[in-house]
Assembly symmetry: C2
Homo-oligomer: 287 residues x 2
């Protein structure tokens, strides 16, 4: 009566995202008519109209928008429950609370911090095994939400800590990474005003949650691409100080005096109750 089956949620999410019953049914691996019927049943059960069927395709009603957001969270929670339960039992540890932890990190970010954290935690008396899960820009949130990870290193202001518990670990400044030969590369320090709107060095654009922000710069989706484009003199980037680790010889890093500081946090699902996780967080905050 007052609860939704995850099957209903899956179906609705597919239709709400595709805005097309046929494509949604294909994505779900089923025929279109049962999908239509399932959505109608869902609407009747909720007593609410979710989709507006107009002449050509469908569009969401207000209630549909709400269910799209809330349902995403509910589905993530359900798959997270399945994944974490499987991991808890699969490791073979009898008590189940001392198993492997999956730590999501943005690939190549905070490398030094990560190494120190792993070393310090490994020295703890009853440390769990830590699996490091490298992920792309801003994917850590998704990984925590759907249970592929148990804990993550996040970087404000790039990530959002909404919905997670967190502890602050490290604050660092940012540097401008320029082609070694560029005139600005000779400067000791730079400001944001110095590096914005340079016609020959537009800022590279990173995908945020799958989409690229608008702008003149080239679209990149990993450090190697970015590094190459900078070395070729096609773009520049503003990155946290600790990312100096992966710079090339053709790069020059210049500190930015007025860039917003980047704060690294360790974050985990708010309802988490694992002993191993508590130990890792204690270790991290004592670094």
């Amino acid at each position: 009566m007052d609860t939704l089956e995850t099957r209903e949620l899956r179906y609705f999410m597919a239709v709400a995202e595709e805005l097309h019953f046929g494509r949604a049914a294909e994505r779900l691996g089923m025929a279109q008519p049962p999908l239509s019927r399932a959505i109608q049943q869902l609407e009747r059960r909720l007593g609410v109209s979710l989709l507006q069927r107009n002449r050509r395709g469908v569009c969401l009603t207000g209630a549909g928008e709400v269910l799209l957001h809330e349902g995403r969270a509910a589905l993530d929670a359900a798959t997270a429950a399945a994944r974490r339960t499987r991991r808890a039992g699969g490791a073979g540890t009898p008590d189940g609370l001392r198993n492997r932890l999956v730590l999501a990190v943005k690939a190549a970010a905070s490398h030094e911090l990560l190494r120190k954290l792993l070393d310090a935690y490994a020295a703890e008396p009853d440390a769990a095994e830590i699996e490091v899960l490298p992920c792309g820009s801003c994917e850590q949130e998704e990984m925590l939400r759907d249970g592929r990870a148990d804990v993550a290193l996040m970087h404000m202001p790039y990530n959002s800590l909404a919905g997670f518990d967190s502890e602050e670990l490290l604050t660092e400044g940012q540097i401008a990474v320029l082609p070694a030969g560029h005139p600005l590369a000779a400067r000791r320090t730079l400001t944001l005003a110095d590096v914005s709107d340079i016609p020959d060095l537009p800022l590279a654009r990173w995908p945020r949650h799958g989409t690229y922000p608008p702008g003149p710069g080239p679209e990149v989706h990993d450090q190697t691409q970015l590094a190459q484009l900078i070395a070729l003199g096609r773009t520049m980037a503003i990155i946290p100080d600790s990312a100096r680790a992966w710079l090339w010889a053709e790069h020059t890093a210049v500190p930015l005096t007025d860039a917003p500081p980047v704060v690294t946090y360790v974050a985990w699902p708010a309802h988490s109750r694992s002993l191993a996780l508590a130990g890792l967080i204690r270790t991290a905050t004592q670094l």
Copy 2:
């Protein structure tokens, strides 16, 4: 394959909480054998053992503990999705994002703040209708989690903000509420040391998440009971300053100089995207 049906979760939660198939089946309104079979299917699907069936009853394995916690969150998310969707469509507003907001407050707490908030918000140009949902001690978190409320006023350190977004609204001191005739009632200020372990005035005990902390004081579960017991000289209480509103003539309030301050926050589900909610929060933070 990698997602759990809410039916399976409901069944497992019942068994995990009762630790008894028969009672769990009764609670679920079904017979015991299908429940047994459903749990076995769930264990097979997940590939992990959740319950340890020993001679007399059952107990949870480690993986079962994990699923108990994660499943609670997932079930809450699913029922929250249903409730919020129903409310979004039921109000009859066509755009659905400008509907009624349910605000959970601890009954009789922050009365003045609440009045100011409601007045200020009602004066906004396109204010949604606010339904005030009074709830018992620490119930606001549950209300937000399972969708009965959209936003809440919470009081640190009594509530936990884990898993919610929040903004600080107000910090206040605490007062000791004593029977008017008591010797300590003549003092201008008191300290925690003054009022702890007074044999004739043991501190009243409030339920926290359904259970009472241990101690010598009487158990109370609403302000009226507490007020009466204080007036009768049987107990005393330490409460935030703003709760002076409901004191009786037979009560005397004395400021406590070293009690931890109580901070009132406005809190809401982290993934919330409602325009009406954003307006209410903006109003609250500008008070």
